[in-house]
Amino acid sequence: MLFNSIEFAIFLPIVFILYWFVANKSLKLQNFLLLGASYFFYAFWDLRFLFLLIFVSVLSYSIALIIQKAERKEQKKKWLITGISLNLLVLAYFKYFNFFVDSFIDLFTTLGISLQKTTLEIILPIGISFYIFLSLSYIIDVYWEKLKAEKNLIDVLLTLGFFPILLAGPIQRPITLLPQIKSKRIFHYQSAVDGLRQILWGLFKKIVIADNAAVQVNYIFSNYESLDGSMLLLGAFYYAFQIYGDFSGYSDIAIGTARLLGFNLMQNFNYPYFSKNIGEFWKRWHISLSSWLNEYLFLPISYSLARKLSRRKYFGVRADKINYSIVITATFFLCGLWHGANWTFIIWGLLYAFYLIFALFTKNLKNRFKKNLRLDKLPIVSILITFLLTSLGWIFFRADNLAQAFGYIERLFSASLFTLPDRSRTLYFIIAFIIVEWLQRKKQHGLEIDNIKFTALRWSIYYLMIFLILNFSGSQQEFIYFQF
């Protein structure tokens, strides 16, 4: 079920009414209702894969309990490895099987060895990367004794299958979601109203910004060979806002929906295009994923590697810099692979690793440069450079294959870059959107306007948003992050 569909507009009020008016007497009943609603929401896409979600959830539930009961550390570790492996196996089979087979065949073909192609018709279960990551963090947190294994199966099933975050995040880790599921929920008027505002803002971002930008992006990426460089630059710019509007819009709707039901989810996007460097960008973009990768991948590998690097310097380079470079490359390689089974995503990830390593090694030079040119007083320059670098990355992310990505970039950096591109209505929407986001950048979301005390003005803004959503919607597109 799409958040921007009529079905969801019917589904959510029904769940809301049943949740607060019928099941409100009992926490168990509320959780049971939410679980049923979540599974209905997921089964609406494909009933078959609901069983996969249940399988993964039950698996994590059982393994977490076994880890907790195990007395010896080796036993705990053995079960941890089993749990992680089984989860990754499910992910690898459904998401990466064909990619690995294709890549191996390509590799052998390059070496002159011809292999028979035997890929399978595997359908990617929607949201699999998200719930597998939730499942992994549940098992790992139990192993690290940050979280107690939950005995109530319903609570675990709901933690891993909560419908607002089920398909495309935020990756709300069980360590923060499970305690909320176990606590009595109280309806907060202000929180619910702001939840509705956040849903409205998310719908605006998705339907008006992302879906309209998608029309331009599809045209530009399909015809990039015959368009001017300036148009291709605009195409990358449109895509930057398509993916931002799409994904952060989804997150806003998810967070707003959860707030209506009395849950608080983490902020997933914090105005990332106003970042002044790439490091900051990753602290503001898809925060739930970047913090997940940081906690479960970057830091553990980094500590482990640091113990192995005994010398202070290698080839004249400080060991901590080498450590950082290796770990950041591995993390972003996996980050790219998480996004999709395609080399374009991997290159996209590695490009960020390159940006960060380059920034590390040129830190002193950059600081001197900024100081001499007094760029510290002009943050807009850093914001623009960071935005251009991320937009360059988005070209790989959007391209169907590497040939298209490199062809696009080659044509972008041609003499025609300095011509005036065609402008569309979408561009004006995006400019207005940037202005609103800039003004609201210290708030949780762009429509957090409870500081406006005049009710008629607030309501007029809501009506305006509804009007824009109804009348300037692009053609309905699935959320991009569903495919991940």
């Binding site: 019917i10 309806f187 809501y462 009506y463 109804l470 009348n471 300037f472």
Partner: protein, 334 residues
Amino acid sequence: MKLFIKKIFLFTIVFGIFSVIVGQIYLHNYLKIVFSEEAFRLPENITTVFFGDSHANTTFDPEIIENSFNASVESEIYFTTYSKMKSLLKSNPQIKNVVLSHGYHNLSFAYNKDILFSDKYYSLFDQWGKEIIHSAANGQLLEYKYGPFNSFFSRWFAYLEHFVNSTFIRLKYDVGVPVNLTDYLNFYVSILRNNPKLNEFPLYPGNYRSDKSNLEESLTNKFINLHYYIDGEVGSSGIMIESLYRMAETCREYNVNFFLINTPIHSSFKSKIPEYYIKLYDEVLIDLKDKFDNIYYYDFSSVDYPDSLFGDGDHLNAPGMERFSNEIKDLFTE
């Protein structure tokens, strides 16, 4: 909670009242202008009008074929074409020839799903058309739209969704709730510019012209699937067939020649059309010819054009349209 529900209720009521008032004003003016008899009036010299979907749109060039006008729209289904044709014939007694692109795909059940998308022509529909579009209880139509129902639940959900869509259509056109005002706004802008052109009407967007040619098998397969299959099944559309008969009847009523033209398609495409549709097509055509004496049928689907004249397997490109239009330009005067 009470305050929350109260506010939501109030917000909805205010929105509803506001929407209906604004929507009625827009709708009233928009429909009055866009679907008025004047809006359908073509220049006096137009005696031949082309109808259909992208096939007519990429095949008949009114700049080459004298005294003609191309009223086709990409993806337009017969169900809509019928209503449009009726309105144009009513406003233009000078029309002598109606030319409809009639391909193997036009009677396919794969197009039933588009019936609800033709709602912006709602004001043009006769009673039959309105009944179809509101037919929430029409199980057969729903099955075409959603594919075979595999459970009791999916059938009832389809009914519910269809009912909601149908209610929306009523709200839009009978009550005037402003949904999809973009069309209206674009039209108002053209009026403000004091320059409303025929091709700014949603009814006549003008010909699609592209020099590109793409005969890749993947694209051909994509279109074959799109036109002819639902979940691997083939089937006919009773509504599209009925619309075709109604078009023939309308042409007879207005004493107009009704040309059915199977437009050029590439041999690689034609070879993939399921036999079912070719048989269905022939059967319908024989019956039509039996019943109506104003029908002229021309089959150009096997025309031997070089690959470079096809935009894709299913359509001509701009050079193809130019060549074809030159070759048939005298057909309607003979």
